[in-house]
Amino acid sequence: MAMTGEMTGGRFQRWAAFRRWFVEKYLTIDARSVGLGRVSVAIVLLIDLARRIPVIDLFYTNDGLLPNHTLLWRPPTQWMFSFFFLASLREEAILGFLVCGFVYLALLVGWRTTLMRFLAPICLVSLHARVTLVENGGDWMLCELIIWSAFLPLGRRFSVDALRASLRRRRETTAAQLADRAAMRATARPDDSLVDPTADVNRVVTLAAFTIILQLAISYFFNAIQKGGPTWRQGTAVHYVLYQNRMVTWFGVWMRGHMTPTLSRVLSYAALTTEGLLPLLILSPIRRTWTRRAAVVAVIGLHIGFQTFINLGVFSWTMIGYTPFLLTASEWTLFARIAARSRRRLTLYFDAGCGVCFQIVRVLARLDVFERIQFVSSAELPPSIDLSPELLGRTIVVVDEKGRRTTRADAVAQLLRALPLGFLWAWPLRVPGLRGLANLGYDLGARRRQTISYWLGFAACSAPGAEPAIPATTPAAAPVLRSRAPVFAWLGRMVAILREGFVLAMLITIVNEALFINQAVPKFLKFEEPGWVKRLVAYPRFIQAWSMFASDAPMSDESVVVEAITADGQRVDPYSEVAGRIPDPGIDEIPSRLDNDSFFFNYSVRIPDQAVYHQAFLEWILRYPLRTGHPGDRIVRFDAYKIENDSPPPGETSSRNVRKQVFLSYPSKNREP
């Protein structure tokens, strides 16, 4: 019996040890990585939104190629959600874009993050689901990125929310109290860690930490194993990709002129090897710090490479957007060590009588994570310092480590440079014209600082020599702790359990979907997805089909051209005029570098075979005179062609075997506008 007890106890201990190990390796993420990840995700979201602005009429209104009623009548998938289906007119779509922009900006700066991390996926899914016909894998990865990251505490670090929480929790009243940075950092704790002050505030444990990296690993894994065709085996894939004129960049065009078979092999195998290794690097529990670093470098290098050669829409930026979530605590320690090497030290002297100045100083103290700035108010000036209260009444003074003094906008620029990434904010203040404006703005604010302080409810002493707003000595600022009734603490735990439960459901969904939809998965592992899985995939666009340029790189290119004749006899191509660089490519060849955006090259690939959307395409073409404003541009007839050619084999540069096929004509005997 004793032996059984020992065995059970030993098994339990091994299980507990494994659980601890698994939690540490896979379910833990650094809050700083999450904060940086939030910033990177928001930037990618803004890029995605910005690139849709030029095509808002074409893809988000009923004057465009994909009217809302057409997509709702013949939906590409039966489960779709998008609030852009409410928008028929241009101004309605613009309003939707403004809402999305506001949400993304709020997410970027970390304002009301708890709400915005819920709204941002809704906005993104709405943007994408409205135009599923022009989606690609990059759009799916972005949806997955924003949804997985929504389960993480995105606002805990590097956010306006964290800053405000810290300001509320510790209300300093003297400059001396600002020097206690340890106490200040303690106020950055989330509420639940107030219970255990020894808990690491940067340590986040959640299943979502695992799923976000698993998502990345799954995409590379399937992209790698499904690239089994001859072009990848023989190393000609990169060569053929560069002959996709609908997506190749100008650098890609230059490169293909210098692409040798050897170079193509090197690049093809490098891409394949990188994609093959990345799942291992991302998921490796051994030497995790170094494998993750290697993964970050590999991802950034791979996708900068892709983006340099071909335009895949938001795909490359999205994949780079995942990388901050791979950073571990070791990287942050390393960053801190590197930053600590800087000898930059500043002392900021400011007016004690100015309430708003002191509040700004409180904010600066919290942003000064490298503790490079010391704060001294006019009420605490040491006698050795040669600074008059009158000067401090007009401007702040910043003294650097070499004793150099700066005032006004220059002083602000110095302060900004001392902050993390501060050089980004500081350099505009040094540009000659902007510097003058900044000084004007500074003087304006300085002259009115008492009024501003009063209006914002801060202390404001206007008389020189009068008592300072912040006395020299006051009791230490005590943290204001928020107490929670037990029932709310219990509710909080239940919410956390539900959240983790939902993440688990999504995890099951993506595994299920990945096994079902990817060709490389053996048949015995595939099974019909239950309805709830299909819905969880379709609604948030959680598609897991990872086969970019797989199994082979495309060995042919294609495009769509419309040959239309106007009422005044002109030959025009209404589609190419908006879709790319060349307004009239003709039907005899696919010109070099069409410079299509991903929306257009996806539309061009799909529209010839999507007869249900042909009527919408036809009506859009016939609205040509409304877009040009010339009544003479009325279209009397047109033919829409699908043009294909075979890419040149390695060693050659000319495409061959151009084929063209009419997929839509007007007028036709069966069709009336």
Partner: protein, 640 residues
């Protein structure tokens, strides 16, 4: 009379409205919204999904207006529409109970607009009535009384309330009048609706008193009561109803706007209009229209009526003294809430720590187990669930909540629940961070108070001061927009007064929420003809069925040569029936819906092989006739 006095009188007469009237109006409007939602539930699939008669893509392809808003355009599947119905219900319910009233009023407006705009082909002017009412009341504080918001505000205002404070009396409710241009707008809106309806009724049927007669011969809308009146009541009765309708509609505008004895003329107007619309609802089914119009009437109540109501409320017979356990945090929190709901001041609250106040025969040990309610007049006593029933009975409309707890089986269950709660009240109090028998409350949550808020800065105070100006500016803009709309939408408005060339934004402001203010119900004449549609479809096994009327009306026999008696349509089917024959853009959707008949019945033999859709019209009988005449029909759709 000097100008200040005149201005004061005008302000009181036209710009002020009692907070209690606003609150009652909110409750009635909330009930109307919920009722409107519930009546759509049975037709969710047929009207709110793409399996139905009006698919979202058809409406978006050929919208009735260039600008139209509805969240239901996002819903293609029945379950998606159901989800939005649930969201709408939550918004309407929160609005009804006055929780975050302003927010949920705006959301409710968006949801009710969405419900109506999604199926404009099957809507009548009830949606417009609800829409304009919600727009005017958006500028008025509907949540200051009879609401959760009011109770919370009262609790916050007296955070440090003690039992002694409560024993001395609960804080008085807010009995101020609110002053706003929106109050005038609401009065003008009500007057405009009835005046325009009156002046538009200029045709012969209204002049000769036969209008109600002809309305009752509309088989698609007549109710069972209407049918009885039509069949059994002499013509003089319907003539009287016709004339009564005109009199009430004409009088309403004057009664609402007159400055003489206005406190009582408005009350009379409200009573007359409730009577008018109740009568209409009894005789004909116009969907939510009658109830939406009744929802306007509480806003006509003045302080004089509230004073009258409070005098009519019996106090003495229902006064009670409540003895409660003051050491119990949750009990104290509940007492604070109940004290604020006791607007008639019938309850006196005595803590068990006041031993001198305990009645004879009652010791503190009893009060440790249960609260005690005492009738000070008869000395009758109640404990446990019965005590709660007595407390509810003392509250306004409390008898509605109290009587279930007096039913034998329910009372036993309630007693058990009460005992369980009483035994665990210390634990429950601890869970909510409240004081419990010597255990201190969680810091900052004593007496149910929340953490202190930041002080109001001058900037914030300045912004708050601007809010009334912004609100009144908004109300003024709405007044201009709706006045312009009324001027162009009603033929009775003289051409010189029409705002013909409105800017685009004004047109859009009216179009999006679909608040076209053309008020001409049964105008200029009552309809002299009646119509319906039927579908003669042949199934695979040779049967003739009418898929449309099987779900849309009471009578589905085919073929028919006249409009059947009392079709019993809901208003959606009624209005769809009127419009579909001439709405060619919706014929394809109608056809596809008919062909989905076997999917709805689940019987593969119900596959339709061919069908013809007909509209049947007839002339309604004159007052001295008994039967309709001239029935005729035409086919408007066939397949294949």
């Amino acid at each position: 009379m000097n100008r200040a006095v005149l201005a004061g009188r005008l302000r009181r007469t036209y710009l002020q409205i009692d907070l209690r009237s606003l609150a009652l109006g909110r409750i009635v409007l909330g009930l109307v919204l919920i009722g409107d939602l519930v009546r759509r539930v049975p037709y969710l699939r047929d009207f709110y999904s793409n399996l139905g008669l009006i698919p979202n893509h058809t409406v978006l392809w050929r919208p009735p207006f260039p600008r139209i808003f509805s969240v239901f355009f996002m819903a293609s599947l029945p379950e998606e529409a159901a989800l939005w119905f649930f969201v709408a219900f939550v918004c309407f319910f929160c609005f009804l109970v006055g929780y975050r009233t302003r927010l949920f009023q705006l959301l409710s407006f968006a949801m009710t607009t969405s419900l109506h705009n999604r199926i404009l082909g099957a809507e009548n002017w009830g949606g417009v009535a609800i829409g304009v009412l919600m727009i005017w009341t958006a500028f008025l504080p509907l949540g200051r009384r009879f609401s959760i918001d009011a109770i919370r505000a009262s609790l916050r205002a007296r955070r440090d309330e003690t039992p002694a404070d409560l024993a001395a009396g609960a804080p008085p409710p807010d009995e101020r009048q609110t002053t706003s241009l929106a109050a005038l707008g609401l009065l003008l809106q009500i007057a405009a609706i009835y005046w325009l309806n009156f002046v538009h009724k200029s045709g012969p049927t209204w002049r000769d008193g036969s209008a109600v007669h002809y309305v009752l011969w509309q088989e698609r809308i007549v109710t069972w009561v209407g049918l009885q009146v039509r069949m059994n009541a002499p013509y003089a009765v319907t003539k009287l109803l016709t004339e009564g309708t005109l009199v009430i509609e004409a009088a309403a505008a004057f009664l609402v706007l007159t400055p003489i004895f206005w406190r009582w003329t408005r009350f009379v107007a409200a009573l007359l209009l409730v009577g008018l619309h109740s009568g209409i609802a009894l005789l004909v089914n116009l969907g939510i229209f009658s109830f939406a119009m009744m929802a306007f009437q509480p806003f006509l109540l003045t302080d004089a009526q509230w004073t009258l109501f409070s005098r009519l409320v019996p106090r003495r017979g229902r006064s009670r003294t409540v003895f409660y356990d003051v050491d119990c945090g949750i009990c104290w929190a509940v007492v604070r809430v109940l004290a604020r709901m006791d607007v008639h001041r019938r309850l006196r609250w005595v803590p068990n720590s006041d031993l001198s106040a305990l009645p004879a025969g009652v010791d503190s040990e009893l009060l440790d187990r249960t609260m005690l309610v005492l009738d000070p007049v008869t000395d009758r006593r109640w404990t446990r669930a019965a005590a709660f029933a007595e407390i509810f009975g003392a509250l306004p409309l409390g008898r509605l909540w109290a009587w279930p707890m007096r039913l034998p089986g329910v009372r036993t269950l309630a007693d058990r629940a009460y005992d369980r709660f009483a035994r665990n009240r210390t634990t429950i109090s601890g869970w909510f961070g409240l004081a419990a028998c010597g255990v201190k409350p969680v810091a900052g949550i004593a007496s149910g108070a929340t953490a202190s808020t930041d002080p109001v800065t001058p900037l914030r105070a300045w912004f708050r001061k601007q809010t009334p100006f912004l609100r009144e500016f908004g109300a003024a803009v709405v007044l201009v927009v709706l006045t312009a709309e009324i001027s162009v939408a009603n033929p009775a408005v003289p051409r010189e007064l029409r705002f013909e060339h409105r800017p685009e934004w004004m047109v859009a402001a009216v179009m999006y929420p679909h608040i076209f203010e053309g008020w001409s119900l049964f105008s200029p004449d009552a309809p002299l003809t009646d119509e319906t549609i039927y579908v003669d479809a042949v199934t695979r096994d040779g049967r003739h069925v009418d898929p449309y009327n099987e779900v849309g009306s009471r009578v589905a026999d085919i073929p028919i040569d006249r409009v059947p008696v009392r079709l019993g349509h809901s208003s959606f089917w009624c209005d769809y029936t009127l419009r579909i024959p001439d709405a060619g853009v919706f014929h394809q959707a109608f056809l596809e819906w008919i062909l989905r008949y076997p999917d709805r019945t689940g019987n593969p033999n119900d596959t339709i092989t061919k069908f013809d859709a007909y509209v049947v019209e007839q002339q309604s009988p004159k007052p001295d006739e008994l039967e309709p005449t001239n029935p005729h029909q035409r086919r408007f759709l066939q397949w294949p």
